[in-house]
Amino acid sequence: MPDTFFYAAEVMLNGLMAGVMYSLVALGFVLIFKASGIFNYAQGVLALFAALTLVGLQEGQIPFAHIINAIFGTDLHHFGWTLPAVVAIALTALVMVGIAIVIERYILKHLVNQEPIILFMATIGLAYFLEGLGDVMWGSDIKKLDVGLPQGISDTIEEVTYNWFGYGFFIDKLDIVAALVAAALVIALTLFSQYTKYGRALRAVADDHQAALSVGISLRFIWVLVWSIAGFVALVAGIMWGSKSGVQFSLSLIALKALPVLMLGGFTSIPGAIVGGLIIGMGEKLFEFAIGPMIGGATENWFAYVLALLFLVFRPQGLFGEKIIERV
């Protein structure tokens, strides 16, 4: 078989792997949207903040070092320790739960029964607040995140595929890990929501607030739970993106790529977020490979949005979303 065919297949595979990364961010959006109808603009920033905190804790950085140094004239930067990755991840997860509690206590609680657009605006505010907080706490330089995930091209895959097809596939080990982690995450979330009492309570709240209250579910507790889970998903996304391309503030922009993913997959579907991410990732790479050279390249910047636009015109609810039928 010709090499171009295999090359296209390789491009497609790499696209799928990149798509997994989009899916991870989109997943956080879907969780919050399903449970509370809030479009959480801050999801991408949550991922950034999680990654920043993880690096900071792992390397023993002193939070707010710049401010402390400016006020007291000191020259503090590090505590002088490095934490094992597992401990740092666990601590960061706790920080994300803390953020969920603060968000519920100081934002959501005061906006009960408000229009979705108001809650949306609140999450925009939250996004900028968290971005600023991350900056002040940990500094704005690009950081390297290494939690011990395998990196680089997988030699085994290259070798095996070379022996089989006479063409070695270049696949990043990190991408494979990301795909496995995403799969595990989706399975775990599905099991949690289908078979546990809290999962059931979560779905109940998503369905009908009044009825949920009447069977003894505390809405405030559920908000904290949902935002904690979204924070945890953000942490996973932050780890993957951070390991791939370093922890930098442009990370929060990946949230924007999650938007077309959601339009494709539907805002209320967890499988939709995954499939949407894969389609966008794959479509982007294949389009760039096949059509890019003819029209001057750099199609990856806009392909996803044009695809989302087409979906909005022909299938506004996305592939897996619930069709909205208004009864008159």
Binding site: K197, R200, A211, L213, S214, G216, L225
Partner: protein, 274 residues
Amino acid sequence: MTVQVTEGYTTADGRQIGGVMMEMKNITLRFGGVAAITNISFDIREGEIRAIIGPNGAGKSSMLNVISGFYVPQEGEVWFRGAKRPPMKPYQVATQGIARTFQNIALFEGMSVLDNIMTGRLTQMKSSLLSQAVWWGRAQAEETAHREKVEKIIDFLEIQHIRKTPVGRLPYGLKKRVELARALAAEPKLLLLDEPMAGMNVEEKEDMSRFILDVNDEFGTTIALIEHDMGVVMDLSDRVVVMDYGKKIGDGTPDEVRNNQAVIDAYLGVSHDE
């Protein structure tokens, strides 16, 4: 011993009714300038079926919402099992053993009948979030035990055939029955039913009446219900509170209420000048 020990009574059909379970004392509820309930007092006794009736807009549903914590009255006290109840959120009321249904069915439409009824068990489930998250130890055993209870309720209300059906697809009458099942799953001490038979045909009403009587009889559940169908109310209930324009105009056995001139006036709208 509780503070409020009151004598029980025996009903016409020979059931023994206990002391006061819930007492509403001088309840007044206002929405802005509009008084929905004005200075109403009544009690609900252990084991009885208590009805609240009245014309449209009399404040019946508001009263039920006060009991279940959805509304907080501006004045008055709610006493439950001998203790004054502080202002509570609806979910806290639910954990006290008070379950309810709604006038306009409030079910989880996207979930199956079984899952809907399982949510009714939430107040009874004790395993921790961590144990639930890792699905280990207590969580597993608990789920099985609760499933058994729920299956019993499903048998009791004769809805085995729709166990796996998403609630959104069910006809109205069955939805009402599923909502009752969800309330029963909480094994409530007090069951509040807001127009359990509204919009039903005669046959469905008979079924529902039978279920209400059976629940009271077999589980000893105290029931407070709102209903429009006078025939049904008089057949089912042991004592009746009658409301009109937010005020209480009658309280007593069905026979006493039927012969109460104020009640007759409220329902027929006649001015009596004999």
